[in-house]
């Protein structure tokens, strides 16, 4: 199923299809290794529900839900 990353719950995984958006935000996401065919696992949400923590390429990354919404994944 195709979703955006912010729709995944903790423990769920997805494979990146495409990163949307533009400018520095998109570039930063891509520079951190979130490119097509990358496996992502959602670790958890912060105590106030945002941002979220994910595991990608063997390291942990936190990003805001608004940023996660730019990442389209296949679950």
């Amino acid at each position: 199923m195709i979703k955006t990353l912010n729709q995944l719950g903790s423990g769920e995984t997805g494979v990146v299809i495409k990163v949307y958006g533009s400018g520095p935000v998109k570039r930063r996401i891509v520079d951190m290794g979130i490119v097509a065919e990358t496996l992502i696992q959602v670790q958890k949400l912060a105590p106030l529900g945002d941002p979220m923590e994910i595991k990608v390429k063997n390291f942990n990354l936190s990003l805001r839900k608004s940023e996660a919404a730019l990442i389209e994944v296949r679950t």
Partner: protein, 801 residues
């Protein structure tokens, strides 16, 4: 994708060797991701032979160090930690500019072996810069503990460069690295490295490269330039624009980008970044096969507690509470010792200097200034101990993660929380604490609003005014409302600055959560030491100069025409004292001088000692006890006692009269000093706020430090030296002044809260932003804001009453 090598890449103008000074000296640049242990390795290599400065015109730090190795002098440059080399981030821009402009002899790329894939992404970009690169595979122990096996020989073969294994935290592999650097320098050959971006992009790279070859002024690797242009790199494009023939190339690039966009249905820069990651991924899977990328690590288990859905926030607040208390409560002790030492030093110098301008300058101006510089030092040391611990253990990223939701609501970053919290203690460490914010816009907004947090120096002002004008039942509410006003204003101003001063799309929050690890004592202390030296050197001198200026403004001019002759008044007091003594004591006792009767002198001394005991805290005597003791004396020496008592009373009267005259003179002197004149000049401006010139003078001299407001008011109201902790006499004097009212007192508190940060904070602001513009802006905006808010409060208060 295949890994191609060719000799197409070339760098023009190799003769401009940047920092290369002699054949025996080698320039080595250390590059790597944040959290790759780069600075630890830098410290291992250079030891104490290092210094920190700034890159010209920007706030990014430049750290350099030296090391002698096998007869060669190595100059090491620690580049800012980056994930990539785009022009989107200042750190990345600085790092790559050092490489392309200064052309270091060797680039050492430090990689976190436990996080190899993403670290290799930077390595590939460094290789594209066509300088000799060697790889230092750091934290191999962590990688092994996680079951990651890395074939470093294969990695070396795949990338065509040398690889060394290291454990920076235990200082392992440092010599191997130095040997490798030395060998690579001796070989003096870099392996050309060309990553194949695929047919379509390669065709465009070739096109642009050929066009660039026609230019004569270019001294950068052409293939790299071509790729950067296709990536729409703003820094490179604007540089090319300035070169003859640059416009033609830019239009060619524009066309090529348009075509690529159609082919890939995405921006070319992203296709290029993806190609790099695809290449890196292939290399990674070959050198470190069969890894479970989603495995739970020890770090994840610690995180399960520290960023827990329910426990996360309480733990965060607990740690913040601890940090605040370490910085300010623990820091208060050494601070007190230092201040005492300075007071003694001042007193000692005071005794050994002749009275006059020099003594006043040294004791009040210089010692006072040095004192205010040094008294911040314990706070700053402890602050950076705390920050180093938070950063090096990895908790800082978690703190930002936990609290970001709140800070984002006001346009700030999760990491802004710590500086703002520190602001309640003191703006100086708060402004210095913004260094943890990587993004310059977040950092600037935080710096500008941090002084609105009510620092501890403002508390004596609040307590003086609340105690003088509000009932004890109301005092708490009044005080609380001032603190809340500061926070509300900070939120409001942060939103405004975000919107108007630093507009544009928000930066990415995307933040690595580095694995937790035990920091080394050495790295923590290096960090602490470095910051403190920087503070003393850069901010300290400014604070000293500012303190001397304020001393000058409040003490000069000296040739004042006083409204009356104070010396004459004092002589009068002296004369009337002598007359009283002669008439009431000397004549009845039939002596010429009080000294002629030794018993009388001794008795006066005893009476004085008994009365003094009343004031001394450690042997405080009740009124009844004093009366008893005096009775005893009276019975023992019934004849002499009445005379002695009378003498004592005359003397007391003389002293208090003289003191009163002195205080009045000090008050008039301050009123007529430059600061006082200025206070009077601005009276029309502050009149609508309910302030008279006395408050004006106090506000001007409180620029030195806000608690100075209390002592200045003390001088003006002729109550003499005011202890900031206990200001009862001043409270009474203020309450008795018709110019003051509870409303004016409240307005003064609000004004003190908001108006310009103290000079020490402005000095640090200048140092931290590396420009005079921001302290000037901070001064203006906060003073104007203070005026507007206080005006509103005063005028509304007047209407209501």
């Amino acid at each position: 994708m295949k890994f191609g090598r060719s000799d197409a890449g070339r760098s023009i103008d190799d003769t401009q060797g940047g920092l290369l000074m002699s054949t025996k000296s080698l320039t080595v640049a250390l590059a790597g991701n944040p959290n790759s242990g780069k600075t630890t390795i830098f410290n291992n290599i250079t030891g104490a032979r290092q210094h920190v400065g700034n890159y010209p015109g920007v706030t990014v730090e430049r750290r350099e160090g030296f090391r002698r190795y096998q007869g060669k002098e190595l100059l090491l440059v620690d580049l800012p930690g980056t994930y990539s080399l785009t022009a989107h981030s200042l750190d990345e821009l600085v790092a790559r500019n050092v490489i392309v402009n200064e052309k270091p002899d060797i680039i050492v790329n430090i990689l976190d072996a436990s996080n190899l894939e993403r670290n290799l992404y930077l390595a590939v970009q460094l290789l594209e810069l066509e300088r000799p690169v060697v790889l230092a595979l750091n934290m191999t122990d962590v990688a092994e503990a996680r079951g990651l096996k890395i074939n470093d020989e294969l990695l070396s073969h795949k990338l065509g460069i040398s690889v060394v294994r290291m454990v920076g935290n235990r200082n392992r592999g440092t010599d191997d690295l130095l040997q490798m650097v030395s060998d690579a320098a001796a070989a003096n050959a870099h392996q050309p490295f060309n990553l194949d971006y695929g047919q379509e992009i390669e065709a465009k790279i070739k096109l642009v490269t050929e066009a660039l070859e026609a230019l004569t002024e270019v001294k950068y690797p052409l293939r790299w330039l071509a790729i950067k242009l296709l990536e729409n790199d703003q820094d490179v494009s604007s540089a090319i624009k300035l070169v003859v023939g640059g416009f033609k190339i830019l239009s060619l690039v524009e066309q090529a980008r348009g075509e690529l966009k159609v082919i890939f249905n995405d921006e070319p820069e992203l296709v290029i970044a993806e190609s790099r990651y695809r290449f890196v991924g292939e290399v990674y899977r070959q050198v470190a096969p069969a890894n479970n990328d989603l495995g739970k690590t020890t770090s994840d288990r610690i995180d399960n507690v520290l960023t827990h859905r329910v426990l996360g926030l309480p733990i965060f607040f607990g740690i913040m509470w601890l940090l605040f208390n370490i910085v300010f409560t623990v820091g208060a002790y050494p601070q007190e010792w230092l201040e005492q030492g300075i007071t003694w030093g001042g007193a000692f110098l005071g005794q050994n200097l002749a009275d006059g301008a020099l003594k006043s300058l040294v004791v009040d101006g210089i010692i006072g200034g040095v004192g205010s510089v040094i008294s911040f030092l314990p706070n700053i040391l402890l602050l950076f101990l705390g920050i180093a611990l938070l950063e090096d253990t990895g908790y800082m990223a978690r703190a930002a993660f936990v609290v970001d939701r709140v800070m984002r609501a006001v346009g700030l970053h999760g990491k802004s929380f710590i500086p703002l919290l520190l602001g309640f203690g003191c703006s100086v460490p708060a402004i210095m604490g913004t260094r943890t914010l990587e993004n310059p816009r977040d950092r600037m907004v935080t710096i500008l609003v941090a002084p609105l947090m009510s620092c501890s120096a403002r508390l004596p002002v609040y307590t003086l005014l609340t105690a003088a004008f509000f009932s004890p039942q109301l005092a708490g509410t009044v005080l609380f409302s001032v603190y809340v006003a500061g926070i509300v204003l900070a939120i409001f101003m942060a939103l405004i600055f975000r919107k108007f001063l630093f507009p544009g799309a928000a930066e990415a929050f995307v933040m690595e959560m580095p694995p937790y690890h035990l920091p080394t004592i050495r790295s923590i202390f290096t960090h602490m030491w470095e910051r403190s030296v920087l503070y003393l050197k850069k901010a300290g001198t400014l604070i000293l100069v500012a303190s001397i200026l304020v001393w000058f403004a409040t003490n000069y001019p000296t040739n004042i025409e006083y409204s009356k002759d104070y010396d004459q008044e004092k002589t009068q007091v002296e004369e009337s004292f002598s007359a009283q003594v002669t008439q009431n004591i000397l004549i009845p006792l039939q002596i010429e001088n009080p000294e002629d009767n030794e018993a009388l002198g001794a008795l006066v001394g005893e009476i004085a000692a008994i009365n003094d005991a009343k004031d001394k805290a450690e042997q405080a005597l009740s009124a009844a006890a004093i009366a008893d003791k005096l009775d005893e004396l009276q019975q023992a020496q019934s004849i002499l006692y009445p005379y002695a008592m009378q003498y004592y009373e005359f003397e007391q009267e003389k002293q208090s009269e003289t003191e009163k005259i002195d205080k009045e003179q000090a008050g008039e002197k301050l009123a007529k000093s430059y600061a006082g004149q200025f206070g009077k000049t601005i009276e029309p401006v502050i009149r609508p706020l309910g302030f008279d010139w006395k408050i004006g003078v106090s506000l001007v001299s409180a620029m030195a430090a806000k608690e100075v407001l209390v002592s200045t008011l003390g001088t003006i109201y002729d109550v003499g030296e005011i202890d900031e902790e206990d200001s009862t006499s001043l409270q009474e004097a203020l309450a008795a002044d018709p110019a003051f009212s509870p409303l004016v007192a409240y307005c003064l508190m609000i004004f003190t809260l908001i108006y310009s940060p103290c000079l020490a904070a402005l000095a640090v602001l200048r140092r931290e932003t590396n420009s005079w513009k921001w302290p000037a802006f901070s001064f203006c905006y906060s003073t104007v804001l203070a005026w507007i808010i206080t005006l509103a409060v005063y005028q509304m208060g007047m209407m209501l009453s």
